[in-house]
Symmetry: C2
Subunit: 267 residues, 2 copies
């Protein structure tokens, strides 16, 4: 961690009574900052705001968050800024306090250097054993309850495998562990609906917006993975990464994936 | 909060990089302390240890936890001590750090005074709209991912309703929001199996142990609720509370519930 503000104060500590710690009762965003400017800011702030409204957590004005982002990113033009918003501290028990509170934690981090050849030559993935639980009440949000992802990521240590593909309990493809997934079939871009589990990624949203006529959000069954012409995963930090292999299934890096990468490079 | 130790140091602050905050990557126990002694200590420590082993978090020696419990409870013979164990701080990403770390947070809290007539005259409950997701990989543990409970508890504010009853997505009765549930049928004690969701409560375990010949862990469908002869909920803090009403279904407080309360009073 480079710099950190908690509710606007310079500190890297939070109360042990924060509901973010006690219950995972909050949300987060990881934002790429390049040349001092956040990338896809509006997408991040829209998702954070929607999540706060859904959970009944007061929304912090985006001008405050942007100012704090720039404060913690000052002096390191290229970094990742994490914004965490929690329901604040409370007494005992699950009941949210009334009136509602929120705490915000804004911190900057060095960008983990991705091996440069991943965008060019693609990554290898595996199917995770863990199946995501189906929970429409929490689906889509980037909330702080992430033990499913931690447990799935602990399934392998082979450094040649860069991502795990998550299914739900009904054999639907949902996402990567820390990315969203797109399958290309006959030039069309298919990505899972995320109304029952998974996180609505900001990069996913930007791609859906930019390639609207080509895109379809739908249920994708496991059976469709081996039949895909191209597969890529995406997230706000690493961009668009072609998938060349999922377990024993192999994929070419095709023209649609390259077109999406070209679009992203021009943003 | 009365007193707090973080990894043995007197403080009520933790790092914002703690994985308990970032991902809910940890476990907790709320322990009743009476006359300076923890109640059902072995049950709590067994569940915490099992959870740590399942998540791959290093187990803190119970002598250390017991010493710290007594430290934070000193001077207040009757209180509740919360023990949180997290996977410690880590860099970015879901992957657990290797070698494995853990942080522990031990804090004491005033006992919330339960209205004295709840054990005697029972409580009212409601069926929650939220359905628990099915996730066998995390079921049973008292981990820090508790947004389902927070969301369910936010469904009502009527102070006359003391507990919410949680079903899973397949109409199975699972538990209360912060308690386990027992149904009495013809003198037998039925309680849900918790292999797919829910938390294996320490009080539930103690009752199953004490009343072994009468008890059965099984799938309980919603249909069975209105047919129950008696219903009670239980947890380590409030003990055994008869349920007299769930929405429009009404229940007598019967002899089996009283027998379980009598047993608990003698512990």
């Amino acid at each position: 961690m480079l710099e950190c503000l908690v509710d606007g104060e310079i500190t890297d500590q939070v109360s042990v009574a924060d509901r973010g710690l006690l219950y995972g009762d909050g949300l987060f965003e990881n934002i790429t900052v390049l040349g001092g400017q956040p990338r896809f800011w509006q997408g991040h702030i829209d998702r954070l705001t929607a999540g706060c409204e859904q959970l009944g957590i007061p929304v912090t004005p985006q001008a405050v968050l942007l100012r704090e982002l720039k404060t913690v990113a000052a002096g390191q033009p290229d970094c990742v800024v994490r914004i965490i918003v929690t329901r604040g501290t409370s007494g005992s028990g699950y009941a949210p306090s009334s009136p509602a509170h929120s705490n915000r934690i804004v911190s900057s981090h060095a960008r983990t250097q991705l091996k440069e050849d991943y965008p060019t030559f693609g990554i290898r993935a595996r199917l995770c054993d863990l199946r995501l639980g189906i929970q429409p009440a929490l689906a889509g949000m980037k909330h702080l309850n992430r033990l499913e992802q931690v447990t799935a990521r602990a399934e392998w240590q082979d450094p040649l495998i860069q991502e795990g593909i998550l299914l739900d309990r009904e054999d639907h493809v949902i996402s990567g562990i820390s990315s969203n997934i797109f399958l290309v079939y006959s030039g069309r871009l298919l990505t899972p609906r995320l109304d029952r589990c998974g996180i609505r990624g900001v990069m996913r949203g930007a791609i859906l917006n930019a390639f609207r006529p080509l895109c379809e959000q739908r249920r994708l069954l496991l059976d469709m993975l081996p039949e895909a012409h191209e597969i890529f995963v995406c997230d706000s930090i690493h961009g668009v990464l072609p998938v060349t292999r999922i377990d024993h299934w192999e994929y070419e890096i095709g023209p649609v994936t390259r077109e999406v990468q070209d679009w992203l490079n021009q943003q």
